[in-house]
C-alpha cells in the first residue's frame, strides 16, 4: 500500500517534474556559456558524493584512517598498547574467540537478554501508558508514583535484582525490563494525552464509542512517539543486560568486558565493546526498518521539501 501511495503521488509532486519553464533563449545562453567554460557547477562534487555509495565510501575511509592512525601510533610507541590496545591485537582476539566459539555465545546471551527485556518492558509500559488514557482520574492518581519510581536510577536496583532473580539469565532480563518499562509508560501516556482532541470529538460526533476512539485515533497517533521511544529503549535494554553481567554472571559481553578489564586485557575489552556497538547499531536499524513499514504516512513528508 505504501509503495502504491508513493507511486501515485509522484505526478502531483512538483519537485519530481522536470522543469520545462526555461525559455529556448535562456537555455541557448547557458549552453554557450558552458561551451566556453566546461566546468562543473559549484557543489557538483558534493552532490555526487551525497549518494548512498558516495557516503558509504567516505564513512568507510574515515573508519580505516582512524584504525590505521591508532595502529601506527601504537607501533611508533606514541601510545602504550598495554593501556589502549591495538587494532591488530583486537583483530587477533576477535578471530581467536570466534574460532573457539566463545564470542558468538557471549554475544548471543547479551542480545537475547536485551531483546527479551526490551520486548517485555516496552510492551508492558506502552500498554499501561496507553491504558491510562481511558481514565484521567487514575492517571492523575498514579502520576506521582510513576514520577517517584522513575526518579530512582534503575542501575541502583541491580544488586536487589540479582538477589531476587539470581545470577543467571533472568536477572539480566529483569534489569532490562526495569530500565525500559517506565520509559515506555511515560512516552506512551504523554503521546496519548497529546492526541488531537478535535479528532476525538469528530469521531464522537459520528457516534463512535470510547474503544473505537482509542483504536482509530489514540493508537495510530501515538505510534510515531512509541516507535521513537523504541530506539531509546533498545539502548536501555542493552545497558540493563550489560550492567547485570558486570555485577554477576558467567556469560555475556558484559562478563567478557568486565573480566578482561580486570586482567588489563584491553584488546579483549575492545572486542566486547565493538561487538556491543555493532549489535546496538543493527537493532537500531531493525527499528528504523520497522518504522518505515508501519508509518508509511510519515515518509511522504520529506519529498519535495525545500532544503535549507
Amino acid at each position: 500500500m505504501a509503495s502504491q501511495a508513493l507511486k501515485t503521488s509522484q505526478p502531483s509532486n512538483p519537485s519530481q517534474i522536470p522543469t520545462t519553464a526555461q525559455t529556448p533563449k535562456a537555455s541557448a545562453r547557458t549552453a554557450r556559456k558552458s561551451a566556453v567554460r566546461p566546468r562543473a557547477k559549484p557543489g557538483a562534487v558534493a552532490r555526487a558524493a551525497d549518494t548512498m555509495l558516495g557516503r558509504g565510501i567516505i564513512q568507510l575511509l574515515a573508519v580505516a584512517v582512524f584504525f590505521l592512525a591508532w595502529e601506527v601510533a601504537v607501533r611508533a610507541g606514541w601510545l602504550t598498547e598495554f593501556l589502549v590496545g591495538a587494532p591488530s591485537g583486537i583483530w587477533r582476539v576477535f578471530l581467536a574467540s570466534m574460532r573457539d566459539g566463545s564470542l558468538p555465545v557471549d554475544t548471543w546471551y547479551t542480545v537475547i537478554e536485551a531483546i527479551i527485556g526490551f520486548l517485555i518492558g516496552t510492551l508492558m509500559g506502552s500498554v499501561a501508558g496507553l491504558g491510562l488514557w481511558y481514565s484521567a482520574f487514575v492517571a492523575r492518581l498514579v502520576e506521582p508514583f510513576i514520577v517517584a519510581i522513575n526518579s530512582v536510577p534503575k542501575i541502583a536496583l541491580a544488586p536487589i535484582v540479582i538477589l531476587w532473580f539470581g545470577t543467571g539469565f533472568v536477572s539480566k532480563v529483569a534489569l532490562a525490563v526495569s530500565l525500559t518499562a517506565l520509559v515506555a509508560l511515560i512516552a506512551a501516556y504523554q503521546a496519548a494525552r497529546d492526541a488531537d482532541p478535535d479528532l476525538q470529538a469528530l469521531l464522537a460526533s459520528m457516534g463512535a464509542s470510547k474503544n473505537r476512539v482509542f483504536k482509530s485515533v489514540i493508537v495510530p497517533s501515538t505510534l510515531p512517539a512509541i516507535i521513537g521511544m523504541f530506539r531509546i529503549n533498545i539502548g536501555f535494554a542493552l545497558v540493563g543486560a550489560v550492567v547485570g553481567e558486570f555485577i554477576s554472571s558467567q556469560r555475556g559481553l558484559g562478563h567478557l568486558i568486565y573480566s578482561a578489564s580486570s586482567l588489563y586485557d584491553l584488546n579483549t575489552v575492545w572486542v566486547g565493546l565493538f561487538v556491543l556497538m555493532f549489535v546496538g547499531f543493527l537493532l537500531y536499524h531493525v527499528i528504523d526498518f520497522a518504522e518505515r513499514r508501519i508509518l508509511p504516512w510519515r515518509q511522504v513528508i520529506t519529498t519535495g521539501q525545500v532544503q535549507v
Binding site: 501515485t8 503521488s9 469528530l202 460526533s205 504516512w297
Partner: protein, 261 residues
C-alpha cells in the same frame, strides 16, 4: 410556498463552564428553530459561545438545562446524525484520502466493499479521482477541506454542522468551496448550520442568519435572507446584498468609521 417544517428546535438551552470564581455562564437560554433543508448561519461577537452551541447540538456537550427536539422527538444530542466540519480539516494523517472519506461509513458499520464503492463515487463527483491513495500531507489546503467535506457528506447526515469551515483558506479557494457546498446541499437535500465570523459569507450562503448577543449568549435576532441567486458569487453581486450586510453589521454593533463620524 408552504410553511417550512421545523427539523430541529432548541428551547432554552443553558450551559456554563466551571471557572475560577464559580461557573461561567456561556449559553443563557438559547432558543431557535432550524427548518427542514434550511441553511442557517450563526454569527455573533467573538467568544460568544458559537462553538459551544455546536457541541451541544452534536451531542458532545450536555446542556445544563433546556431541550432539543428533533423532528418532534426530544433528544439529548444528535450524535451520529450530524456531519461535523471545522476550520481544521481534521483529516487523519495516517489515512489516505480514500480511507479518510470512508471513516464515517466505517463508524456506521457499512460493508467494506460497499463503502469503497461509495467513497470512490463521491471522490470522482468532487474531482478528487487519482488522489485516493495520497496522504493528506500531500494535498493543498483546498483539496484537504474538500476531502473533509466529502467525508462529512458521505455519511448522509441529517444536519451538517460547519464551524468556520473555510476561514483558513484563501479567498478564491473559499469562493470555490462555497459553491461546491451550495451545490452539494442542493443535490443531497441537506440542512446546514454554519458558524462563521464572516458576515459576507453568512449573507451569501444562508437562507437565514441567527445573530447571537454577547456572553452569556441569547439569540439577538433572526434575519431571513431573500437573495435568489444560489451561487456565492451571484449572491455577492445582488443589489440587496449590501443592505443585508449593513443590517447585520449594525446588529453586531461593528463600529465603522462612517458611523463614528
Amino acid at each position: 410556498m408552504t410553511a417550512p417544517e421545523v427539523q430541529l428546535s432548541l428551547d432554552g438551552i443553558r450551559k456554563s463552564f466551571p471557572g475560577k470564581g464559580g461557573p461561567v455562564p456561556v449559553l443563557d437560554g438559547l432558543t431557535f428553530d432550524i427548518y427542514e433543508r434550511d441553511f442557517v448561519s450563526i454569527i455573533g461577537p467573538s467568544g460568544c459561545g458559537k462553538t459551544t452551541v455546536f457541541n451541544v447540538i452534536a451531542g458532545l456537550l450536555e446542556p445544563d438545562s433546556g431541550t432539543m427536539t428533533f423532528r418532534g422527538e426530544v433528544v439529548p444530542g444528535l450524535q451520529g446524525r450530524v456531519g461535523y466540519m471545522m476550520q481544521k480539516d481534521l483529516l487523519f494523517p495516517w489515512r489516505t484520502v480514500l480511507q479518510n472519506v470512508m471513516l464515517g461509513l466505517e463508524m456506521k458499520g457499512v460493508d467494506r466493499a460497499q463503502a469503497l464503492d461509495t467513497a470512490r463515487e463521491y471522490l470522482s463527483t468532487f474531482g478528487l479521482s487519482g488522489f485516493e491513495n495520497a496522504y493528506p500531507k500531500m494535498l493543498s489546503g483546498g483539496m484537504r477541506q474538500r476531502t473533509a467535506l466529502i467525508r462529512t457528506l458521505i455519511m448522509d447526515p441529517d444536519i451538517l454542522l460547519l464551524d468556520e469551515p473555510f476561514s483558513a483558506l484563501d479567498y478564491q479557494t473559499r469562493l470555490y468551496l462555497e459553491g461546491v457546498l451550495l451545490d452539494a446541499v442542493e443535490t443531497f437535500h441537506k440542512t446546514v448550520v454554519l458558524v462563521t465570523h464572516d458576515i459576507d459569507e453568512a449573507v451569501a450562503l444562508s437562507k437565514r442568519v441567527v445573530v447571537l448577543g454577547n456572553r452569556p449568549t441569547k439569540v439577538k435576532s433572526v434575519h431571513e435572507i431573500g437573495l435568489d441567486a444560489r451561487s456565492p458569487i451571484g449572491a455577492r453581486s445582488d443589489p440587496r446584498f449590501s443592505d443585508y450586510f449593513q443590517t447585520l453589521c449594525g446588529e453586531l454593533e461593528i463600529q465603522t468609521r462612517q458611523r463614528a463620524a
